[in-house]
């Protein structure tokens, strides 16, 4: 069971966290919604919850709640540039089908 960040993603997360000035790490998760069933959650983490599973990747602490983990296991969070915009991207091996806009997916 693991969730990782690419080196590039870790660099950007560290930069954003420094700018923000607080927080213990990055929280990844999923929740049910959207047109294809499940959507990603990508947030700063200020506190760890009891059922969180912690990972460490390139110096960044990643928190994933236990319920989301099965959906995210094996995922690598990357930071890329697509056309004019750049941002984070989930490379999730569990995804079977994503909606056209990519904001949600089904497993």
């Amino acid at each position: 069971m693991a969730v990782t960040l690419s080196e590039n993603a870790a660099k950007h997360v560290a930069k954003y966290m420094q700018k923000r000035g607080k927080g213990i790490g990055l929280r990844l998760g999923v929740r049910t919604s959207g047109c294809s069933g499940v959507a990603y959650k990508l947030e700063f983490a200020d506190v760890a919850e009891p059922d969180d599973v912690e990972f460490e990747s390139h110096g960044v602490k990643v928190l994933v709640d236990a319920k989301s983990l099965p959906y995210l296991d094996g995922t690598e969070l990357d930071y890329t540039r697509e056309g004019l915009s750049e941002g984070f991207k989930f490379n999730n091996p569990n995804v079977k089908d994503a909606c056209g806009c990519g904001e949600s997916f089904s497993v």
Binding site: C35, G37, E43, F88, E103
Partner: protein
């Protein structure tokens, strides 16, 4: 794949802002709610896995309310407080309701929409429908886990303004925001994916429990247009049960039945009907309370034979709807089947034979309307993908117009005009110095106001006093995408304005619509004659008013003899205008015009000399052409 950004804890943007939207088929017998999940429309079932919600509401003394199966179970025991088929009462006055003597309800005869007296107090059909919608909303929020942003609710294509407005009001009462009211046949067509590149004419054949509707749709470049509608509001699957019931009575030679035995046999009849959908022969076994035993076998052949007239009764409106749309059978590209009763093989067969093609029936005919509504709701809520842009165009079931002098109807928006639509026309004042105008909005096909249904009345006040015919009042009729009408009247020179949104207290029944259409065809010649007569009478009245006004201001120009002659001609015209001989009125008008010709010329001279008084010829010569012309005449 969209790129994401890190959010503050707990503030991750939900995809598409978590827009949960549903489609609701608010039916006469059953209602359903559906939504789009993972790109597919699905009907949401209740906790027990039942997709349908019977459209039945029961009121308790303590104010409690049962909706659906629970209410339906008590229908026989508590008929007065158990409201079934409330859809038939939506937007109707008590007089609009057919067979109200045979219904178990305690109607309250109030102006506007009918009310029902129950143990829990007086309820309007809007409140009863709201209970059904509330139950569906709760089901949806429970199963989707969030609040709904809105719903698309389907209504029959023939629903008039009052009925649509009542449906919207019910949704508001149930806490639902209505994204759009959608015509049921259009929803069915969407469910079949006919929006995806399909072009051409499609027929939607909808045989429900108690109603039959046929709609002819035209699809072009993703635009839906309802070309015509028709049907029979008292024909449905229940009538087929009734035929089997009668057949049982005859075949088993039963004595007159008790109410309980009758209900038992009706249930047997329905079961036999459903069994015959997939079998060639259905057993009918029952032990009656009277001790008699029923043991019969109903074959498909017999069933087809005893219901032949019912099936034929559905084909007649189909033929008429095609004729209304100006189309032939061969132009219909596909036929969509809606309603549980279309499962019957003889219906499938008859429809297939009439249209010369296999009807589309691979979706559940009970769910197809709700599924289409859900698709539309999903789009309207903003959950659209690329290429999901399509428009829906529906039509107005009956022409909308304005009453003009003499009780005539000036149609502004013709029947079957696609909506949304806005039409404007200019009207003028009838009398000198008229400062207000009463506007009477009517709906119907006939030429006279008295034969159409009144929708609303309002007044435009503050028109500056002018001579008759000088004011320019622009009246605009605007019908929005939900089929609701707003009327605005604006006097062009002064800018005074008045408007009304038509929320009529009650509307037309589909029977009435059917009758009014029939009437208009049967009476079209008659109407034309009456219209011509009315127009002449109005014309005569105007002439009289003009002459009288002139006599008043310029009496001094006439000798007593001339004055008397004109007076006589006026009186003669007045008498003629009261009668209904159009030729006589025209003759009297000609006479009066001849009699006043010199008088008119004298008046003109007087006006001109007044205009020229105190001016010199040289000044006049330098004037604009208009004045020079007048000068020549003088």
């Amino acid at each position: 794949m969209a790129l994401l950004h890190i959010a503050e804890p707990g503030e991750s943007a939900a995809p598409h802002q978590h827009k949960l939207a549903v489609g609701i088929d608010l039916g006469t017998t059953n209602s359903l709610v559906a939504t789009v999940r993972s790109g597919l429309s699905v009907v949401l079932s209740d906790d027990l896995g039942r997709p349908l919600l019977p459209s039945v509401v029961r009121y308790h003394e303590d104010g409690g309310v049962d909706v659906g199966y629970e209410a339906q179970a008590e229908q026989a025991r508590d008929p007065r407080n158990t409201i079934v088929s409330v859809k038939r009462f939506m937007g109707r006055g008590v007089r609009d309701i057919a067979h109200r003597e045979s219904l178990p309800y305690d109607f309250e005869d109030v102006p506007g929409m009918v009310r029902l007296r129950t143990v829990a107090g007086v309820k309007s059909p809007v409140e009863v429908s709201a209970e059904i919608l509330r139950a569906l909303r709760q089901r949806a929020e429970h199963s989707l886990g969030g609040e709904l942003v809105g719903a698309v609710i389907t209504v029959p294509a023939y629903f008039d303004d009052a009925q649509r407005q009542a449906t919207k009001d019910a949704a508001k009462l149930a806490g639902l925001s209505v994204l759009r009211l959608l015509n049921e046949p259009t929803a069915a067509a969407i469910a079949y994916g006919l929006d995806n590149g399909a072009e051409g004419i499609y027929a939607v054949y909808d045989l429900g429990g108690g109603t039959f509707d046929i709609s002819i749709l035209k699809l072009s470049r993703g635009v839906f247009e309802v070309m015509s509608t028709g049907g029979d509001s008292a024909l449905g699957g229940d009538d087929f049960d009734q035929r089997i019931f009668c057949w049982i009575l005859e075949a088993a030679r039963l004595k007159p039945l008790s109410a309980e035995d009758a209900r038992l046999l009706l249930t047997c009849a329905r079961e036999a009907k459903e069994y015959l959908t997939n079998h060639g022969i259905a057993p009918i076994n029952a032990l009656l309370n009277s001790g008699e035993r029923v043991d019969l076998k109903l074959t498909t052949e017999v069933f087809t034979e005893i219901t032949r007239t019912l099936v034929a009764k559905t084909i007649k409106p189909v033929r008429k709807a095609l004729r209304d749309a100006g189309l032939s059978v061969s132009e219909v590209k596909g036929v969509v089947m809606v309603g549980g009763a279309t499962r019957m093989p003889q219906i499938q067969h008859a429809v297939g034979e009439f249209f010369n093609q296999e009807p589309l029936n691979n979706l559940d005919p009970d769910k197809v309307v709700a599924l289409g509504a859900a698709t539309q709701a999903n789009l309207l809520a903003g959950n659209r993908g690329a290429g999901d842009d399509w428009l829906l165009l529906d039509v107005i079931p009956l022409s909308l117009g304005l009453e003009t002098m003499g009780g005539l109807v000036e149609k502004l928006i013709p029947r079957n005009a696609t909506i949304p639509v806005a039409r404007a026309q200019e009207f003028t004042t009838f009398r000198d110095g008229q400062t207000a105008m009463a506007l009477h909005v009517v709906q119907g096909e006939r030429e006279l106001v008295s034969d159409c249904r009144s929708l609303a009345r309002f007044e435009l006040r503050g028109i500056p006093p002018m001579v008759a015919g000088a004011a320019r009042i622009r009246v605009t009729f605007q019908v929005d995408a939900d089929g609701l009408l707003a009327v605005t009247a604006r006097e062009q020179t002064s800018g005074v304005e008045a408007s009304i949104t038509v929320k009529p207290s009650y509307g037309l029944s589909d029977d009435e619509i059917a009758n009014m259409l029939k009437d208009s065809m049967a009476h079209s010649k008659d109407d034309a004659v009456r219209r011509a007569l009315k127009e002449t009478q109005v014309e005569a009245q105007r002439l009289i008013e003009a002459v009288q006004s002139a006599l008043k201001s310029d009496r001094d120009l006439l000798t007593d003899e001339q004055y008397a002659l004109i007076e006589t001609a006026v009186t003669r015209l007045q008498t003629a205008a009261l009668g209904d001989d159009r030729r006589q009125i025209s003759q009297a008008m000609n006479d009066l015009e001849a009699e006043t010709r010199t008088f008119a010329a004298q008046r003109m001279d007087k006006t001109i000399s007044k205009a020229m008084a105190g001016r010199r010829i040289e000044d006049l010569a330098g004037d604009e052409t208009g004045s020079e012309k007048t000068g020549e005449h003088a």
